[in-house]
């Protein structure tokens, strides 16, 4: 188990083995590459260290297949929120209402499905629509009326929390239909012959690894076609090996329990989808431009108001999704659901490399930040640290991550 721990810290693969074999030149290249992307690699290294620390501390319990599976399920709603929050923060705004909105959607989901027996697929669509409308309403005030997002979403936080209690009449409502529970708590179905592993999960894991490797090679070839500089082959292979190893470890861990949780697949689709949009779509570019320099973006013809409006609409929809997953996982809608979720999502974004002034950050970063928080939560629970100290430690981690970033930037002289 402990050998897998080292392999899990992906990009900066242990220099002891492969680095020394390839000589000092490769090590130098790696260090150069890391320095350029200090924030991302720094967080990955930190994540690796945190995982290693708790793996040792819990005698390997942290990396038991059942626990890894749990970890994914426990953090899925925060990670969903963190994706949307990252977009909000990149555009230079903030959203404090997502925790309350999560609870609010849970409550209307219960009203739809528990009280009124609306079929669950229809109810899910209705809930997402309500979330989108709630987000759009806030986005309207922020983008078109120019009210600061902090104020609008602070108001939203109070309004949605209050509405939750009104809809639930102060009580907890449940249970949810079985179909929805299966989506939120269930795993991929088992197929094929009996092996010691979950077949479909293994297949999917291999497919993802193959896809990543092929994509990286194609990318490299196209860069060469345009006569652009590419990193040397040995460094490139090293990177691929590290990524594949990390994916493989996660796949094996999940496959040796009940398989991949369905929520993980939803999450994966969101990460890939939003990552692609932020990187390649025009609207993604416009979001970065608005956060990086709003006056310059306006003078470049970016429709800043429309973009901000859409960002908040999207945040509302993701909050609705998180609310559904949360309610279905606990099989009840509670007035106290989603407490402090907004703060966890914001913390995840900042740990994952967002900047207070906007214009910086990646979807993957938000996920890394969220996983750091998730592993901390889970690990500290396993070793029996109380929630009091957990909060203190999480606070210090947030401060340290952003402090490191500020220090690193100042050293770079920018």
């Amino acid at each position: 188990m402990s050998t897998e721990v080292t392999a899990k810290s992906p990009a900066p693969a242990p220099p002891g083995k492969s680095g020394a074999a390839a000589g000092g030149g490769l090590l130098q290249l790696m260090l150069d590459g890391m320095r350029r992307n200090m924030r991302q690699y720094g967080m990955l290294i930190a994540l690796g260290l945190i995982v290693a620390l708790f793996a040792v501390w819990t005698d390997g319990d942290l990396l038991l297949p059942r626990n890894v599976s749990n970890l994914v399920l426990q953090n899925s709603y925060i990670l969903i929120l963190a994706i949307g929050m990252m977009l909000v923060i990149i555009s230079g705004h903030i959203d404090l209402s997502v925790g309350s909105l999560t609870a609010f959607i849970g409550s209307i989901a219960a009203v739809f499905m528990v009280n009124n027996d609306i079929p669950w697929p229809l109810a899910v669509v209705l809930c997402l629509a309500v979330g989108a409308v709630a987000g759009a309403a806030q986005g309207f005030f922020i983008a078109y009326l120019g009210i600061p997002s902090f104020i609008v979403t602070l108001a939203g936080m109070l309004v949605f929390r209050g509405l939750t209690e009104i809809f639930l009449e102060g009580q907890t409502l449940g249970p949810f239909p079985e179909g929805l529970q299966k989506v939120a708590n269930g795993f991929l179905p088992e197929v094929g012959p009996q092996t010691n592993y979950h077949n479909l999960t293994l297949l999917m894991g291999f497919a993802v690894i193959a896809f990543v490797v092929i994509q990286e090679f194609r990318d490299r070839r196209r860069q060469q076609e345009f006569a652009l500089d590419v990193p040397p082959m040995n460094l490139f292979v090293l990177k691929l090996v590290a990524i594949s190893a990390a994916l493989l470890v996660v796949t094996m861990l999940l496959a040796s329990y009940k398989g991949a949780p369905i929520v993980l697949l939803i999450l994966g689709a969101l990460v890939v989808g939003f990552g692609y949009v932020m990187r390649n779509a025009i609207i993604g570019r416009h979001i970065y431009a608005i956060g990086g320099n709003l006056p310059a973006a306006k003078l470049s013809g970016v429709k800043d108001k429309k973009v901000v409006f859409l960002i908040f609409l999207n945040m509302g929809m993701l909050a609705a999704l998180a609310g559904l997953v949360f309610a279905a996982r606990f099989n009840a809608a509670s007035p106290k659901a989603g407490l402090n979720f907004e703060l966890e999502a914001i913390a995840a974004s900042f740990i994952g490399g967002a900047s207070m002034s906007g214009g910086v950050g990646t979807v993957l970063g938000a996920i890394i930040g969220g996983v750091v928080l998730g592993v901390l939560n889970n690990g500290m629970n396993l070793v029996g640290i109380g929630t009091d100290w957990q909060q203190v430690i999480k606070g210090m981690v947030l401060l340290a991550a952003v402090g490191f970033d500020v220090w690193n930037k100042r050293k770079g002289g920018s």
Binding site: R222, Q223, F226, L228, D229, R279, N280, A281, I282, I283, G284, R285, H286, Y288, A289, G292, N293, P295, A296, A297, K298, L299, S300, G301, V302, K303, G359, V360, S414
Partner: protein
């Protein structure tokens, strides 16, 4: 006169890549009003920042003697302790604090950290009387006009026991009446023994208040003249400001021959814009001009003449409040109410302030270049990164942008290279009309030449270019025609052959009363 109160000797100040002051000597006599004159970018403001400690001792070369002592100010506080107070063009008042609170900000009447309001009020009232401001000291600064705010700044300076008062373009944002009052106050303070340095473009003001004037050009002292002497005419000052020789080189241009009959590429008719906050003030006043294809048309004007405001209000109404006028392209009226509309109609505006309005400094070269026309490298809303990179690489080579790759953050480039990125961005947008606002501001001579070459090429390709600049030599070197602006109005139009620096400067310094 009791001898010099201030001597600045051989001041040299370099910024990375630019020598802002190469050898400036300034001598100010005790009790006089000393004017400093020069084109935009000549180094006046830098000189005053050196004097007031904004640029601390050690960051420049040369000596400063104040009241006979050598001074080594490490910050503004140090210079203020000696009685040197600078009032910047952009006022440094806190709008939501009262007049009295602003006057004593950082210098409160307090015992053990607690403010004595009676003492504050008494002292503030006294200071307001001295500057002739008839407002209650408890009035919020946001509730009084710019002219009165200027007086509050002076009251603040007086509270610091000012001996030498520096005013950087104090009347640039004021109307005639307020300007007059302010100038009277400066003369009044002179009687009370306060020496003033006033930076100004307005020659009639200088003649009214100043005893002597020092002219600075290209970071060097040209001469100091006695304003009261009969030889010091406005023409004399102007010729000192502009210099005689054209030092910069320009690419060879064949002057544009206007096509008979063809409608101008861009025509602006009766354009009027009000100030965004002070809505009584016309920042652009009934301006009409036209530019033909293949033509480079200059707009000359000093600070506050309304050139940038004209350009930005035409480009998607990004400045001020529209109060009338139409824009025509190729003879047809077009809508330019929003930036996307203006861009769609083939107009591009390259800002004078590339750091704040032109570039996303934390983003890379390629993404900055593609931003205003992402649709050109995208299919179905998805950006083709490789195509985008090819475009950027193309510009990196053709514009000679000095950077290892197009993935370099723009913030790390030099000013000249940043300017090339902004130009690339707008050339990529494929406009028919380019409005270039101070395209060579703050960049070195070599990069300037490269930019001139690009502008020349754009005109040769049949684009219409509007060239806004404060540097007259570059307008004379590049333009087919030059308009002059002053106080929001067009004050003249010169074909290239008839324009000289002197004739342009005369129209640029024309004040409202003179033109009436």
């Amino acid at each position: 006169m009791a001898g010099p109160v201030l001597e600045m000797r051989s001041i040299v100040k370099t910024f990375p890549g630019v020598k802002a002051l190469s050898d400036v000597t300034l001598t100010v006599q005790q009790g006089e009003v000393h004017a400093i004159c020069g084109e935009n970018g000549a180094g006046k403001s830098t000189l005053m920042k050196v004097l007031s400690g904004v640029h601390p001792h050690g960051s420049y070369e040369g000596d400063i003697l104040f009241e006979g002592e050598t001074c080594e100010f490490k910050d503004i506080r140090a210079s203020e302790q000696h009685g040197i107070v600078i009032i910047h063009q952009e006022l440094a008042l806190v709008p939501y604090l009262s007049i009295a609170e602003n006057i004593f900000l950082g210098n409160e009447h307090a015992t053990r950290g607690f403010i004595s309001w009676t003492e504050t009020l008494r002292h503030a009232t006294e200071l307001l009387r001295r500057v002739g401001l008839d407002e209650h000291p408890d009035t919020r600064v946001a509730d009084i006009g710019v002219g009165k705010q200027q007086l509050v700044e002076i009251a603040k300076a007086l509270s610091k026991k000012v001996k030498l008062l520096i005013l950087d373009e104090p009347t640039a944002a004021l109307n005639d009446e307020d300007s007059g009052k302010l100038l009277d106050l400066i003369l009044d303070l002179k009687k009370q023994g306060i020496t003033s340095i006033i930076i100004s473009h307005k020659l009639n003001e200088i003649r009214k208040v100043a005893d002597s004037v020092t002219i600075i050009r290209d970071g060097q002292t040209i001469e100091t003249l006695d304003v009261k002497s009969a030889e010091t005419t406005e023409d004399r000052i102007i010729s000192g400001m502009v210099g005689r020789d054209l030092e910069h080189r320009f690419p060879e241009r064949t002057p544009h021959e206007p096509e008979e009959g063809a409608a101008p590429a861009l025509e602006i008719r009766n354009w009027t814009v009000h100030h965004p906050i002070d809505q009584q003030r016309k920042v652009v006043d009934d301006v009409s001009l036209q530019v033909r294809r293949g033509e480079i048309v200059g707009i000359a004007g000093l600070m506050g003449a309304g050139r940038t405001e004209l350009a930005m209000s035409v480009f998607g109404r990004t400045y001020g409040r529209y109060a009338g006028g139409t824009v025509l392209k190729d003879g047809r009226e077009i809508r330019t109410k929003t930036v996307p509309e203006a861009v769609k109609n083939g107009i591009a505006y390259v800002t004078e302030d590339r750091k704040h309005y032109g570039l996303n400094l934390i983003d890379t070269i390629n993404r900055n270049i593609s931003l205003s026309a992402l649709g050109k490298v995208a299919k179905g809303g998805v950006v083709d990164e490789h195509g985008e990179r090819q475009v950027a690489e193309g510009f990196r080579k053709s514009m000679n942008i000095k950077a290892p790759t197009v993935f370099e953050p723009v913030g790390k480039l030099s000013g000249g290279n940043q300017q090339k990125v902004v130009l690339s961005k707008w050339i990529f947008a494929g406009p028919d009309v380019l409005i270039l606002d101070e395209p060579t501001r703050g960049i070195d001579v070599g990069a300037k030449y490269e930019i001139y070459t690009v502008i020349d090429k754009l005109a040769a390709e049949g684009k219409a270019v509007v060239f806004i600049s404060s540097e007259l030599p570059e307008l004379l070197g590049m333009c087919d025609r030059i308009y002059t602006m002053a106080a929001g109005r067009l004050t003249g139009e010169f074909p290239r052959a008839e324009a000289t620096q002197e004739s342009l400067m005369r129209q640029m310094t024309k004040d409202k009363e003179v033109s009436r």
